[in-house]
């Protein structure tokens, strides 16, 4: 059975070399609802199908001048939903929804329009590195293109109306994903994050179990969407993130100054593990790549290896493996495949590394 997503999983995601040693990516999300149409909780099955068809057409038309793909999620296998989540193209909530849903994604994977999620439409823009202004400009231009196709529910007092009032106003959630291995190691995260709550910012550790975030990835987001303009929101978030970045930079300098041989050893142990392991779990990949990323940021490993690492990381994720390899149904098979992918990648490194 063919799928509108055929070919996507073998394709290496477009990866630009991140311009920042601490910030992984910038994300802007806009929540929108059609005027005159009830919110999610009040939509019956017929209305949901009509919503999906209407917004599918509108999103594709709005992206007519940009290469894009469209998929009605209830018409494809759940495994492809999972792969879209792994690729950060849709939210876990959309993937798991039993309702009719859809997504329209630009071919460069910079923008996704999720249909019938928490709101009628969730527009997401992701850019590498720290680029709140660029991400906001793209999000607004896509929103304006949509506004030429549809009429959003807007209130003169409350702004863009959303199902949950915590999203109303701008309907905008701006987030920065950061890599904070030095602060995590020196137990200084609490002081770096102190006061974020009073500034109406939230912090999430990503991919975590227990009290630590695996891979030392953290996401800082604005909480307020009402009473501030879009520019004020990204301005405040940018200021907060710069303080955290400074903390991480100082912590990395101190780490190199006092524990260089230990850090160097840890980084090269990670290379050794990925170069030789015969079985790798996703957890192990995240942990070891965390060290490789730090090594690249500290100049101990060639930074030009980063796009390759990100590509192999993406292809080694569970749903991607199951979609691209016929022998990846069992966890043991996937551990072997994952290990082989990384061995092959490291074997391709220039000898200077």
């Amino acid at each position: 059975m063919t799928s509108p997503l055929d070919g996507l999983w073998e394709r290496i995601p477009p990866i630009a070399l991140p311009r920042h040693p601490v910030v992984i990516s910038t994300r802007i999300r806009l929540a929108r609802n059609l005027a005159g149409i009830p919110f999610k909780r009040s939509l019956d099955a017929d209305q949901q199908r009509a919503l999906v068809d209407t917004l599918s057409q509108a999103t594709c038309t709005s992206l007519a001048e940009r290469a894009h793909m469209h998929c009605k999620l209830h018409e494809v296998d759940h495994l492809e939903h999972q792969a879209l989540v792994e690729r950060h193209l849709i939210s876990p909530a959309l993937a798991a929804s039993p309702r009719p849903t859809a997504c329209t994604v630009t071919d460069d994977e910079a923008a996704t329009m999720m249909i019938n999620e928490e709101d009628h439409l969730r527009l997401q823009v992701i850019t590498p590195g720290l680029d709140l202004t660029g991400a906001l400009e793209l999000a607004i231009s896509l929103d304006q293109a949509l506004e030429r196709q549809v009429e959003w529910a807007v209130h003169e007092r409350f702004g863009y109306l959303t199902a949950c009032p915590t999203n109303t106003g701008t309907g905008m959630r701006a987030s920065i994903m950061l890599h904070l291995p030095a602060l995590s190691r020196t137990d200084e995260l609490a002081s770096a994050f102190r006061g974020l709550g009073q500034l109406h910012m939230t912090v999430r550790g990503l991919y975590g179990e227990g009290s630590e975030a695996i891979g030392n990835y953290y996401q800082i987001s604005n909480q307020r969407t009402l009473g501030l303009s879009e520019e004020e929101i990204i301005g405040q978030l940018g200021e907060v993130v710069e303080v955290v970045i400074d903390h991480e930079r100082l912590a990395r300098e101190a780490l190199l100054d006092r524990h260089r041989s230990e850090i160097d050893d840890q980084i090269h142990r990670a290379i050794g593990c990925l170069a030789n392991a015969r079985l790798l779990t996703s957890h192990e990949v995240c942990e070891q790549c965390n060290w490789l990323r730090l090594g690249m940021d500290l100049g101990l490993i060639d930074r030009a290896l980063l796009p390759g690492m990100l590509a192999v990381e993406s292809q080694s994720k569970t749903a991607h493996l199951r979609l691209t390899h016929g022998d990846a149904e069992q966890p043991e098979q996937r551990k072997q495949l994952r290990a082989r992918l990384f061995r092959n990648w490291i074997a391709s490194w220039p000898s200077t590394n």
Partner: protein, 157 residues
């Protein structure tokens, strides 16, 4: 999902109180908290966040939206509106909630340009009407009418 929260330290303390919680995404969804973009807290998950007293008082009278049928008590429980009219109907009541969460209750950001695509919203209504009529026609074995409705849906795209 695992959440660890640390409250600010009290006077004389080196660090604040730490509390932790593990919860699966299924249970988060049942509480209406599975939106990954929503701020989340342990108090919110354990329903320790009490709505402002103004909302509690009005929820006792339990006003109901004539458009979507949502009662204010249902909104207080789920924190989700049923339609855009709920903002006007319950607006004065939720203003304390907005002030508490956002620190404001007036939008100051951008708004759509005047030449919005209202036609597409009419298309939604026409699509919905044709699909319902199509189901009726098929159920009533009025196949010529069903074919005509299917053609109309195709024209909508």
């Amino acid at each position: 999902m695992h959440i660890t929260e640390q409250s600010p330290p009290s006077a004389g303390q080196a660090r604040g109180q730490i509390q932790s919680l593990d919860i699966c995404h299924h249970c988060l969804g049942e509480k209406g908290l599975d939106d990954e973009d929503q701020p989340i807290s342990i108090d919110l998950i354990l329903n320790r966040d009490d709505p402002p007293s103004a909302i509690q008082q009005v929820a006792a009278s339990d006003q109901r939206c004539p458009h979507c049928g949502l009662r204010l008590s249902q909104f207080v429980a789920s924190k989700r509106f049923g339609c855009i009219h709920d903002y006007d109907l319950f607006g004065d009541t939720i203003v304390p909630l907005l002030d508490e969460f956002h620190g404001a209750s007036h939008h100051v950001g951008r708004l759509p340009a005047d030449d919005g695509g209202a036609e597409t919203n009419d298309t939604f209504q026409r699509r919905l009407r044709y699909e319902r009529e199509l189901q009726d026609a098929i159920a009533g074995e009025r196949y010529e009418e069903a074919a005509r409705l299917r053609d109309k849906l195709k024209e909508l795209g």
